[in-house]
Symmetry: C2
Subunit: 432 residues, 2 copies
């Protein structure tokens, strides 16, 4: 495809329009398309009504080079997408015995018999390719027609995501919608906007043959993707060399290669060091602990967390001295550090991370208005505190304070881990 | 308006299509429209491109009785919505000195001077009404044309939500898109599906004159809204009588009048009782504590939480006996209760709530597969444990376990609070 292809996505389902379920597929497909250098032109959320589906689809088909639909492929009668789109395309639905075979096998695996109603899912467009669904009954469909492409995917994310990754991306590369990437590498950054990151790395990346550069911003982080169109010109090692130069230029704001969360980065650093962590939270009230405990296998590193919202709990559980709370207040450098060291002692961990602050809407002072947050950090190498000032509402301040704590710890950990390694090397304990 | 009006929403912004920001406005407007008995037909997410905005808008205008747009009303040049839609409608944009006045006043309040660029926001359609924006610079617009309605709202939620509540709903009622409600009452339920709830209450509600019944499902709860079209026929007291009958029929699954979260319901019950709470979490790792600490003023009730992910922490912090962990395992009735009572003791609270379980993907046993969760509850009236079995992935199991714990506590609290009150009355301590 020579010019930029126009892509539209259609996410089907009444529950999206009624606010019962969030339109996560829009986000997922947006990030995936952006990663491959394609910016979707529009997303249509259409209710389960055949006339609407037909009409929206027909208009979109006229405008677009590629349409991706999600949902509406189930066996029940309110899943009418196949029929409505066949109608709009002037395609005939044909029964495909291979689909029936694979659905029957899936039911057998579950020890059940296939209900008659699932026969509806065995129809496909005459000229389409079936995308197999190892995680559910609804197969996907892939159709090339009139120089355009249609991809139809099932609604459940656990079925849709692997189908997109394994069966759709290669086909879109072959069709020239996505650049046909031989290999790629991703860097994650935190603390830089997309344009600031671009300004930093573009001098290193411009005029490199066979290189495609992509950016993707999400949840306070910006990903940089370096892809090679031809591994004979730019191979994995070449990409890695470029990435290493970018990493050096980006400095502290470099988070990781790949797409780890901030908590996962900390988890890996601590595992490598064979060190453990505990958390003490006041205003974030469990959000930092929750970021760690969402990682499977975290118990090797994460000893636990104390949500000490009430001052009494700070005294009782974390042994923050009462006189310190009186003198400096609960939102202070001193208390942040005492909470972090208290967490280390109570949970018997090597490292401690704490957050205390005024999330709002009330509770601030003239010197420390709502949004004033102190972070505390305790490590075998020393203790630190840091003040941040936020300007959102309670929910946003809590979320941002948690992210700031994680990002700060990952920076500290990397910086002082290296020092530690150097110190150990100087002392002759390890070879560098 | 005699027939059901067709409503479409258009949410503008590249960042939605690229997956940088979630399309929360779709959810917000979906819930609001459903509450007023209107099911939107479609939502279009359109990038900041004048040709696309014009063409999508023109098509939607042909189909719809009401269009609501969000976003694209800012002062910068990539905010082109006003111009593109004026073009599609054949409307002229006119400069409105009153808009300039109010924007200048807003900047003055902030101690700043209005930049020239904001003059772009002072244009409105010739025949439109301006919706004032007390929380930002971009005014909204309301237009009646060709028997159709257009509502244009700013993108930031803190500006859009109050504008919708205070200025749009009354206008849509007046225009007959929303039924003109004299008064309404909302009941929140948990544990019932929408159709099960309808089957329970419909016999009480059918044939009641001037009554409109609406349902709205979200995040495991279903809201029932009872509205009166005419307060001379059905007044607030009449609604309350109906709601009380519904409440009685719904029984334990009734959560509250209004739209409190489960944690807020528990907060209020405990405040009324002048009692306090602590939480101990293993697999949910901070999610339950976080649900409480998102409530402003919670420190009056919530003493704190312990995230005891590691068994050592259960022993050290909560004083769960080591021998109990060995004999029964960390995921057991005994440990759940010991965690709840341990939290009470450590944080000096009257009530304790705990969660321990296998969230996955690994860690289950043959008897207790992944998804097996024990909840523990300690109260002045006794201790309880409950087992639940979930079948999702790690993230979904964690989320559902946290919700289940909160819903269970609210049920227990309400049930045994009443008993407590009756017992106190029997003992002659209070008058009923």
């Amino acid at each position: 495809m020579s010019t930029t292809p126009r892509v539209e996505t259609i996410t089907l389902g009444d529950e999206l329009l009624l606010g019962i379920r969030e339109n996560d597929h829009l986000t997922y497909l947006g990030v995936e398309l952006a990663h491959h250098g394609v910016e979707p032109a529009a997303n249509l959320v259409v209710r389960d009504n055949p006339a609407d589906i037909r009409s929206f689809f027909a208009d979109s088909w006229k405008r677009s080079d590629l349409i991706i639909t999600t949902g509406g492929l189930g066996p029940t009668t309110d899943d009418l997408t196949r029929e409505a789109i066949a109608d709009a395309l002037g395609e005939t639905l044909v029964y495909d015995p291979e689909i029936e075979q694979s659905i029957r096998e899936r039911f057998e695996q579950l020890g059940k018999e296939m209900p008659e109603i699932n026969l509806r899912q065995c129809n496909r467009f005459q000229n389409s390719t079936v995308l197999s669904n190892p995680y559910g009954t609804a197969p996907g469909l892939f159709l090339e027609k009139d120089g355009k492409l249609l991809v139809m995917l099932p609604g459940p994310a656990r079925e849709m995501h692997p189908m997109f990754q394994n069966q759709v991306i290669p086909r879109l590369q072959q069709a020239g919608i996505f650049p046909e990437i031989d290999c790629y590498l991703q860097l994650r950054t935190a603390g830089l906007g997309e344009s600031a990151l671009a300004a930093l790395v573009e001098p290193l990346l411009k005029d490199v043959p066979a290189l495609v550069v992509g950016y993707c911003a999400r949840a306070g982080m910006v990903d940089l993707r370096l892809s090679s169109l031809d591994s004979e010109v730019l191979d994995n090692q070449g990409l890695q060399n470029l990435a290493d130069q970018c990493r050096e230029t980006i400095g502290e704001d470099f988070v990781c290669f790949g797409d780890l969360t901030l908590a996962e980065v900390i988890f890996r650093e601590l595992r490598t060091l064979n060190q453990t962590l505990a958390v003490a939270e006041s205003c974030t009230g469990g959000l930092v602990s929750s970021s760690f405990t969402e990682i499977a296998g975290i118990s090797k590193v994460f000893h636990g967390g104390a949500v000490c919202y009430h001052n009494d709990a700070k005294v009782q559980l974390l042994e923050v001295p009462e006189v310190m709370l009186e003198q400096h207040g609960a939102v202070s450098e001193e208390v942040a550090i005492a909470m972090a060291t208290g967490a280390c002692e109570k949970f018997g961990s090597d490292y401690g991370l704490s957050v205390t602050g005024f999330a709002g809407p009330t509770g601030g002072t003239q010197v420390l208005p709502v949004g004033s947050i102190y972070l505390g950090y305790a490590s075998p190498l020393g203790v630190w505190a840091k003040k941040i000032s936020l300007r959102g509402d309670r929910a946003s301040n809590r979320r941002r304070a948690a992210t700031a704590a994680l990002d700060w710890m990952r920076r500290k950990l990397r910086k002082y881990k290296l020092d530690e390694v150097f110190a150990a090397a100087d002392a002759g304990n390890i070879d560098l």
